[in-house]
């Protein structure tokens, strides 16, 4: 009886071998693909900013970004001489990818006299379904220095009292080829205080999204809410609605926002205008990013004869 069972088993095995042989060659390769290197979901947001706030994206090693950001708005004066550009704020920054996961940047803003620097590290990268993490997580830390004159008598004016810090945990997921969403728990520490009633530490939560309209154009929006806002003056959550356009080495971002500042601690906790069409509330924003590859991956590119 047992011998018969063994006999039957081997007959089946031998019969199965030619059947296995008939499976398509592409099916074999399909199996082989599983053993190759892991793949990560790319271009969750493509640009390092969603609109004004940071996205999970970091630049790859050796990439230098020259970033010019501008915000334009009108003063509430009844008769304005310029169309939408009574005032402007410009931030000029250099941002560099130290490694594929770590990047840094330094910038200066003209209107609010803020000088800022940041470090950003890509902690977790989203992988395709069933292969690993369903999210991307990036940690962000910046420090900014307020260089404008302080005319508040009770403020102890020293270097350290002019610094503010923002820590962010950027958690994003690309839900499909066209849609990405980001949640941004944020902690802001402000050393500059306008009154004793103001808290130094603020907790905020940001939400941002990207929807791809075509191959190179996407619609983006972002909002931050502060749980313990400043008390010495009214502040509003910054909102941004914009269009990102990626063309080769240039990335353009156009947006409407109520935040005139481009530095995290300032636009998250210190936005004085609500988002509406009354002057000076509505800002037109424009970010221009030029991407320079200082380290090239493939060497010896020769022109074909």
């Amino acid at each position: 009886m047992r011998i018969r069972a063994v006999f039957t088993f081997w007959t089946l095995v031998v019969m199965a071998v030619p059947v296995l042989g008939q499976e398509g060659l592409l099916d074999i390769l399909e199996q082989e693909h599983k053993d190759t290197v892991p793949t990560y979901v790319s271009a969750t947001f493509k640009t390092t900013r969603i609109t004004y706030g940071h996205s999970v994206e970091t630049r790859k090693k050796g990439i230098l970004e020259i970033m010019l950001s501008n915000r334009f708005w009108n003063t509430p004066a009844l008769q304005s001489q310029s169309f939408g550009v009574d005032k402007m704020n410009a931030r000029i920054a250099l941002e560099y990818g130290i490694s594929d996961r770590l990047s840094t940047g330094f910038g200066g803003s003209t209107w609010d006299g803020l000088f800022d620097g940041y470090l950003k590290y890509r902690l977790v990268r989203q992988r395709p379904k069933g292969e690993g993490s369903p999210f991307s997580i990036t940690i962000f830390q910046n420090a900014s220095y307020f260089s404008e004159g302080l005319i508040l008598p009770d403020v102890d004016d020293s270097f350290s009292n002019r610094l503010s810090y923002t820590s962010q945990l950027l958690i994003a997921r690309k839900f499909g080829p066209n849609f990405s969403l980001q949640l941004t728990p944020t902690f802001v520490h402000r050393s500059v205080r306008y009154g004793d009633i103001d808290a130094r530490n603020h907790m905020a939560l940001g939400i941002g999204g990207r929807y791809k309209l075509s191959h190179h154009v996407s619609l983006v929006s972002e909002y931050y809410t502060v749980f313990n806002p400043l008390d010495s003056f009214d502040t509003y959550g910054p909102f941004g609605l914009g269009v990102n356009w990626e063309i080769g080495d240039v990335m353009l971002q156009f947006m409407l926002t109520n935040a005139p500042s481009m530095v995290e601690d300032s636009f998250i906790t210190g936005t004085k205008n609500n988002f509406n069409f009354k002057n000076p509330n509505l800002n037109f924003g424009f970010n221009f990013t030029y991407v320079l590859h200082l380290k090239r991956k493939l060497k010896g590119l020769k022109q074909k004869d």
Partner: protein, 184 residues
């Protein structure tokens, strides 16, 4: 009688191996595929060193499969653009080829040049290709190499008018597969 029955599995075991030899296959796990786009404005080059290729030596059938996001570009950002805006590798992660080496003689030592004809699928489009391929055999190793040209337009890859000068209409593709015996 019972002795024969006991030995039967052993016979069958060898029979199985005999079967395995019959349909001999060779596989390349680190096949190289690179493509070039030459225009007066910009030269673009990309390389994929993890292309899989398999050949059935008896029938001359061949299959190739590659992950689009494994192409490495000179500029890191180009890779992102390539995957996201051109070949849409989220939707079409792989490109594959399935075909036949015409008049393939696997027993021939040395070099032979053959036409490989089959279907190439990329970006959801399948095209029939005929590629002149050099096949070199050294013992159990088969090396396949060649070049062919592909029209960007054929694969419904859209180039924005602004970048029309930067990307060539015809892309030249080089490939090299070093195949070794494949064990199941």
């Amino acid at each position: 009688m019972s002795k024969v029955n006991k030995l039967f599995p052993v016979f069958m075991f060898f029979a199985m191996f005999a079967h395995g030899q019959e349909s001999a296959r060779v596989i390349a796990r680190q096949g190289q595929v690179s493509f070039f786009s030459y225009t007066s404005v910009e030269h673009i080059k990309a390389e994929n060193n993890q292309v899989l290729g398999i050949i059935d030596l008896t029938s001359g059938e061949i299959a190739v499969s590659m992950l689009m996001n494994a192409f490495i570009f000179e500029k890191a950002l180009m890779r992102e653009h390539f995957n996201e805006s051109y070949v849409e590798s989220d939707i079409y992660p792989k490109a594959s080829f399935e075909g036949q080496i015409q008049g393939f003689d696997s027993g021939l030592e040395g070099e032979q040049t053959r036409i490989v004809k089959g279907n190439f699928s990329m970006h959801g489009v399948t095209k029939v290709l005929e590629i002149k391929t050099k096949i070199e055999r050294k013992d159990q190793i088969f090396v396949l190499s060649g070049t062919f040209e592909a029209l960007v337009q054929d694969y419904q890859i859209k180039i924005p008018p602004l970048l029309a000068g930067n990307i060539a209409k015809t892309i030249s593709v080089d490939f090299r597969f070093e195949c070794e015996p494949y064990a199941n």
